[in-house]
């Protein structure tokens, strides 16, 4: 009963606002006009010419390497959609670095993650440097000891590593090595997810005359999918301090009998949040329509 009343009230409201618009439109001259609202970037990155997507502390499913995939994807997006020059280099083994952080001198820490520091995939051929063949394909190279990585299954497991992002000395050293770029790093959780409940789907039915109809049917359904929770941290390579950080959460669910590869779900979810990520560094224009009045 309450639901019906609410529906009636909602319909009345919609009708009255439509009537009001028609009434005003009848009395006033109005002109629809397309506009493009420029949105300033969240960060002023004018002081930087280069950007280093350093790597991520990633966890969740073993089917997708959140660190490598996120690094590779962000580098390729920044290469085409930002004015900053993207530094192509090895992905920093941040989990290792965070583990070593307990009492190890800065020199050793930086050495364990050292790379050539040249932009555009240039390499001098030393051990642990970028593989030019891999870089040419636009793929991020494998970190030296990815197999040693401890297991991170949920957001709580990330906590012991988070202190690394506040390690000003470490990031300053990385910044010096790469000629003071803007550093992008953070955490990525990509976890399998399951949910069951009533969902509405469409079903084909045929009546006694053989006519086809599509009717909505509400059924109980088991669904499974993934949750992607990245946290992007932007660090000033000149000072090693965090300039900005942002959390995102996206999820996708499929029918339980549908088999969707984890990697394609990962890209589907990343596609949704890439515009927000890019808007941190570069300006955007939002298209819309408004009504000018006389």
């Amino acid at each position: 009963m309450t639901g019906r009343l609410a529906r009636i009230a909602r319909t009345t409201r919609i009708l009255s606002s439509v009537a009001a618009i028609l009434l005003i439109a009848g009395c006033t001259n109005y002109y629809e006009i397309p506009i493009e609202t420029p949105i300033k970037p969240k960060l002023d990155v004018s002081a930087f010419q280069r950007v280093l997507v350093a790597g991520f502390i990633a966890g969740g499913t073993d089917d997708v390497d959140g660190n490598l995939e996120t690094t590779r994807l962000l580098r390729s997006q920044l290469r085409t959609k930002s004015e900053l020059r993207v530094i192509d280099t090895d992905v920093l083994p941040l989990m290792e670095v965070a583990n070593e952080d307990k009492g190890e001198p800065q020199e050793l820490k930086a050495d364990s993650a050292r790379t050539d520091g040249k932009a555009d995939g240039a390499s001098d051929g030393k051990e642990g440097k970028s593989d030019p063949k891999v870089e040419a394909r636009g793929e991020a190279p494998q970190p030296a000891s990815a197999d040693k990585a401890p297991v991170i299954k949920d957001a709580k497991d990330l906590e012991p590593y988070e202190h690394l992002f506040a390690d000003v000395e470490y990031w300053k050293k990385i910044g010096e090595e790469y000629q003071n770029p803007l550093i992008v790093t953070g955490t990525v959780m990509f976890t399998p997810h399951q949910r069951s409940g009533i969902v509405q789907r469409e079903e084909e039915v045929y009546d006694s005359f053989g006519r086809r109809r599509v009717v909505p049917v509400r059924t109980y359904m088991e669904r499974k999918g993934y949750i992607l929770q990245p946290k992007f941290i932007f660090i000033d390579g000149r000072t090693g301090t965090v300039m900005h950080s942002e959390n995102f959460r996206e999820e996708v669910l499929y029918n339980a009998n549908q088999s969707t590869p984890a990697l394609s779900s990962y890209f589907e979810l990343m596609d949704r949040l890439i515009p927000s990520f890019l808007s941190t560094l570069s300006s955007q224009r939002i298209k819309g329509t408004r009504v000018l009045l006389e």
């Binding site: 005003i24 506009i35 420029p38 949105i39 969240k42 900005h244 009504v291």
Partner: protein, 122 residues
Amino acid sequence: MPIRTLTILLLLGTSAAPLAADARSDAKKQVQFGIAVAQRGLWREAIYRWERAVQIDPKYAEALNDLAIAYEHEGDLEKARVAYEKALELEPNNALIKQNYELFKEINDRTTRKDSQDNQNP
């Protein structure tokens, strides 16, 4: 003497309405010109015209609405907000102004949300 005062008051009263009508008519000319140039993409000129219109007739809600749209287009969201709110203050039941404002708020809220996340600790 009281007759003379009464006559003056009466004259003033009758001339006030045409004066207001004149102001609206002058402002409307500016608004119309602003619309014509905005449709050709000359938003800066449109802003100048609509600002003139609001100076001439500060109670012209439609001019404030148009000005708000132009500020929005120029990315000056704070000025746009102020202009929309003034327009709605003058004509709270104008559904077209309300509709424009709602669309504006969606964008404005998004940027405000962004700002609040700035300098957040990791």
